[in-house]
Symmetry: C2
Subunit: 126 residues, 2 copies
């Protein structure tokens, strides 16, 4: 039972947001946006991601049409990854969130400090 009471596309939108909000997908998109083209092990080294997760995440991104995979049948083999136009197009809204995060991290940290201090007081008075 899903019960998306808000709107009927919320499920799909959330699906996309989950993909974007996913740790590795986002970092891969950012990296490819920055370097344009990267090989498998370059991404692996840059992100500090396990082979397994990199392989899985890249496959998802490729399937969703966000990333282009180019296989060069040389020896040793060489595989290059780049953003598709679709992948490029998500960078702008992604940056919006990133900018918001940067702008509001201090506020979030302050809120957390307040919250934790308050809870601490409540616990002492018990």
């Amino acid at each position: 039972m899903k019960a998306e009471g808000t709107c009927k596309d919320c499920g799909r939108i959330n699906e996309v947001l989950s993909r974007v909000g996913d740790r590795w997908s986002m970092l891969i998109i950012i990296s490819l946006g920055t370097y344009n083209v990267l090989r498998f092990n370059e991404l692996k080294r840059i992100l500090g991601i396990s082979q397994r997760m990199l392989s899985l995440t890249l496959r998802e991104l490729e399937r969703d049409g966000m990333v282009n995979r180019t296989y060069h049948p040389t020896i040793p083999p060489k595989v290059e990854y780049a953003l598709t136009p679709l992948g490029e197009s998500i960078r702008a809204p992604l940056r919006q969130i990133g900018d918001w995060a940067l702008d509001n991290l201090p506020a979030i940290d302050a809120a957390r400090a307040r919250y934790d201090a308050q809870k601490e007081l409540e616990r002492e008075s018990a």
Copy 2:
């Protein structure tokens, strides 16, 4: 070992993005943005979320200063949740992603269909 090779704030930004990308956090923010004020069980009913996850997620959002919790010591008790200004402020960038998702869902679906069909062909030829 975290190894954020991209930028030093990437860890924190990703933290925020994970919160936003999280299924329930996002849906709660959207719901509170739509209805302004909601009680615990109203949110529960609207979202089809378990008590446990709703409680945990609301606490996180409150701690981060995104959501305001108001306790009315009546009988029976009544607790109301609403967005703080900080919570309100994330709605705009969130909408950007939502709009992107809506606009590009057909492209994503098409890409998936292409990908799956291609993989199917490859498997047949084996």
